[in-house]
Structure formats: C-alpha cells, structure tokens
Symmetry: C2
C-alpha cells in the first residue's frame, strides 16, 4: 500500500500529495508508516529557507526565484508560513495569486501553512510536508517564513541554505540584528533597493557580517534586489547555486544535512517520550492528582516531579518494563 503511494507521488499526482498533507496536518497516526517510508526518498531536493520581516517582499522574491528555477528547467515546491501576512501588504492574497498563476504548471507546488494548531509542532510538520513534496521529484523546496517566533525560526534554520531579506527601512544596525534570525543567513537580500537608504543598509549589513563572520567558512554576500521588477533575482539564483556547490565541495552540505537529521531525531525523541508518558491512564491520573496538588503552593516543577514519581513508583505504572515492552514492539 505504501509502495503504491510512493509510485503515485513519483508521478506527481497532486491529489495524493494533498491527501497525504492533510493526514500529516491532522496528526493522524496511520500517516506514520507512510512518512517513515517516504523519508528515504526525500533527499534529492535542496531545501532553501527564505526569511525576513513582514512586508519585506518574501513572496515576490520567492516568486522571482520560482521563475528563475523554471526557466532553467528546475522544479520547485514552496511551503509558506506567515501568520502576519494579512497585515503585511497582502502576502496572503499574494499567495493565492501565486498559486493561481502556477496552478497549471506541474513543476511548481505551493502550500500555505497557518501558524497554529499543528500536532507536534509547526517546524516538525513543515519538514514532513517537504518530504512529501520532495518525493514528487522537485529539485528545490523553498521554506518561506517571517523571521518571527521560535517555531518559525526553527524551520528556516533546518535547511541547506538560508536567504535573509531586509529592506532599506530596516533601519540602524541594532534593528538589522533584531530583524530575525540574521545569524543564520547565508545570503542577504536588500529588497526594494530602489528606495532611499538602500546603499546605507547594504553597507551596514556588510559591516555587521564582516565583524561576525570571522570564524565562518565565508562572509555572506549582500545582494540588492527589486523583486517586483525582477531586478537582482538572477544574481541571487547564481549565488545560491555557487554557495551550494561550495558547501558540497567543502563538506558543509553534508554537515548541515547531519544537523537537520539530528534536530529531527531530537524532536522525535521529545515527542515519543511525551507520547509514551501521556497514556490515557496517566492522563486520567493527572486530572485526578491535580485535585490533590496544592496548586497555590506547589510550584509547577515540583508538581511535575511528583506526578512522574507517583507514576514511576505506582505498581501499575512501572516505567521500565512498560517502556521496554513498548519499544521492543516498535516497528
């Protein structure tokens, strides 16, 4: 059955893609076996993070990149996570326009994620969705997130290469550093660079990068773009490819993939530990114990310890054997 799904994905059957994505987004457990299988086929695609403050022009810029990829015969998937979009000059609408624009092109797949309500977390889910897209044979996957919020930053941190977008209005150096996950940028974009102050901010970023990249393999380049007119996009595209090649040669690419794997395994460990702990029985015990915990005096940490201790020492909840049994039966 799972082999059949893989075959359909490889044929780029959109309906299968959408159905799988819904399974994942709803946290359905029967999706797990499929995802475990798909994972091994999801490595070909290059994962690119695109991040920047609301209104910096992320979606216009990605759209430019999509066009560039397509004109080079490359296919691309996009996952957007921008909860502020309704307030940042229409990126939300922009997403819909983009989706319509590319809806007849089988070489492009775009998926918008909200920011809330994902079982197991936004970052985890976004990378599972990327696995699905990767199985359809896409060459690149763009992760677009506003550089805001812990989960949102985690997404663009766990990619092969990250583009940070700023605008002339991004202001002074302090503000640049506060602009989001600046420390993870491999390429910097000053978008809307036809506006006043573009050269000033470019200089500021360059100065900042020179100071902070001393121990790094390279100093990130700063590229000026006007995404609405397509200016600078080709340069960005080439810089992307050049860096990726460099990363592959130097071993950085492999190291980053290992880091991505580590992060995903760590997240899975956290989730498995919680899943193991919060059985229905323990959930009931928690609700019951809560009545007896002196919530006004007992700090949350102490309460947590007490709960874990009660559960670990209660004859019906012996952690070790149950744990072993559970994991020995794991697939």
């Amino acid at each position: 059955m799972t082999e059949e799904i893989l075959t359909k994905l490889k044929k780029n059957e959109i309906r299968t893609v959408s159905r799988l994505m819904s399974l994942i987004e709803n946290g359905q457990s029967d999706s797990e076996e499929i995802m475990n299988m798909l994972y091994a086929h999801a490595h070909q695609a290059i994962r690119i993070g695109v991040t920047g403050p609301p209104g910096a022009g992320k979606s216009t810029l990605s759209d430019g990149l999509i066009k560039e990829f397509r004109s080079e015969g490359k296919t691309v998937g996009v996952i957007t996570v921008d909860p502020t979009s309704p307030f940042s000059g229409g990126a939300f609408l922009g997403d819909r326009i983009r989706m319509n624009k590319h809806s007849l092109d089988e070489g492009v797949f775009i998926r918008s994620m909200g920011s809330r309500g994902y079982m197991g977390g936004l970052a985890r889910t976004s990378h599972y969705l990327a696995d699905i897209i990767a199985c359809t044979g896409k060459d690149y996957i763009l992760f677009e997130t506003v550089g805001v919020g812990q989960a949102e930053v985690e997404i663009v941190k766990n990619v092969d290469i990250t583009i940070v977008i700023l605008v002339p209005e991004s202001g002074d150096e302090i503000q640049v550093m506060k602009a989001g996950p600046v420390e993870i940028g491999d390429i910097f974009i000053v978008n809307k660079s036809d506006r006043e102050g573009a050269n000033r901010i470019t200089q500021l970023i360059n100065d900042y990068l020179e100071k902070t990249s001393l121990d790094k393999e390279f100093i990130p380049e700063v590229i000026q773009t006007v995404a609405t007119e397509g200016r600078g996009i080709k340069e960005l595209f080439h810089q992307c490819n050049k860096l990726l090649q460099q990363f592959k040669n130097s071993g950085t690419f492999k190291l980053r993939r290992l880091e991505q794997y580590k992060t995903r395994v760590r997240n899975a460990v956290r989730e498995e530990l919680e899943k193991y702990f919060w059985t229905k029985e323990k959930e009931a015990l928690f609700q019951k114990e809560l009545m007896y915990l002196k919530q006004d005096n007992l700090s949350p940490i102490k309460a947590a310890r007490q709960l874990i201790k009660n559960i670990a020492t209660s004859p019906r909840h012996v952690g070790g054997d149950e744990l072993k049994e559970n994991w020995n039966n794991a697939p």
Copy 2:
C-alpha cells in the same frame, strides 16, 4: 537564603528583580529552588494578555492602561515579547521611551524579552519572570505579544483575561480571524478608531463574535480606542475590572487559574522528561549512534525509537530503576 530574596523582592528591590530575571533567562539551574519558593507568593497579581498584529498600537494602549492603573493607585508590571517591533512603527523605541518615562515610578516595572534563545521556551520563561514581578507586590501584570508564533500565542493564552487589539485596516472577516489568537479574546479593541473603516470593522468583529460565542459565558465587548490620545482607555479599564469581577463570581477565574497551572505542569513534565533522558551519557551515546544510523534511510521517528530502545534495554541504561531512583531523590 531564598527567604532573604523573597524579603528583598517584597521590598521591591529592582536590583534583586533584575538579577533573578537574568538567572532565569540564562537557564541557570540554581534558580530553580528560588523559583519553586517564589511560586507560592505569586498569585495575587492579575495576569492580563494584550495581543494584536504588528503596528496595531499594543504598546501605546498598554501605556494608557498603565496610566489608568496608576491613577487608581494600582501597581503594574509589563512583559513585552514583540520580535517584529523594529518593523512595526517603532514599538521597540516605544518600549525604551516607556521605560524611561516610568523609570522613577516604583509602581511600574517593564521588561522586554526577545523571542529566541530561551532555555525551555519563551512561554515558560515569561511566566517565571511574571512570578518574580508578582512577588514585588504588583497588582497587575501585562503580557504584551504580537499575535504571531506558537510560543507567543501560548503566553497570552495562559492569563486571567486577554485583550485582542485590531485596527480599521484589519480588513475583511477572513483577515480578522487570521489576525492572531482571536478565539481567546475576552475584550476586543478597535484601536486607531478615528480612521476610516472603524465602524465597519467593529461591526464585523461583533458579527463574528455573536456567531462564535454561542456556547460561551459571555459575548466579548468591542471597544473603540484612539490610544495615542487616551480615548477609550478608561472604558477598557472598567471593562477589564467588570469582567474580572464576573469571572471571580462565576468561578471562571478559578478555572482559568487551574488551566494555567495545568499548562505549566505539563510544560514542566515535558522538560523533566527530556532532562531525564538527555543525560551526558545518553548525549554521548546519541552522537555515537548517529554514526551508525543510516540517516538517509532511517526516518527520524524510527531513529528516535531505536535510540530510546537501545537506551532502555542496555544493561547500563535500565530506564525504570534509574527513573525511580532519580525521582525518589527529587526534592
């Protein structure tokens, strides 16, 4: 020693407050005992969430509320978490101005949090900081966050009462619903209501609330404000107090406090489980095992299970006994 700290906090010694906050923010373990002790003394303060999109005027509105609290002889602490602030019309600068303005008033304490790098998470840390402020005897604590990001939403969800701020530009109904954690609002503000479209958006929110609040205790009120001129702030203040009284009478207040406690205990359980799991020994094992895991074929979930299994069944890592021993020695 911890008693001494409590005494200093009760005297509102700012240096002690700041030092404790740094301990917490740096995740230092010796802060735990102190925090456990402080918790019991942190219940008096009312926790109010203030959330809304970037640029809606959160900080100006809170500042109005602070003035109102002070003129009624009430003291107040503020915790702001707005990573977008450099891009949303100067809330960052606004914070500094506010801090300066109130720096001589011992009845006001303001703390800005970034959005990244908090050991154990942003939401958890913010409530620990609030505990510290509460111990200085403040009557109210405002949590200001942009309605963006999972962690940021969790903060304003775990309070006694939540204010959601929108502006006339918040647009159509879909956009209102996407404006952030609208479903958790107890009071809605249409700020900048001297602008065009204020009545229209007020009507939209009212319609939306009427549809969605059927099973709730009450339909939230929508208040028009012009925070920069102080218009509507008194009304907001009174509505806050009215609702809080109502919540106290109906038992809602107590229920919400129980929910806050539950969330904090759950977070602590997650943290304790992880802390227990990732001992130095296991961390080393993880790094070693990683070399043997076929990262290209073995999905993160399977890898996580394998790690947990190896650890649980290895004679040197028997989960149960170690767990028991660990928790029996817990304070």
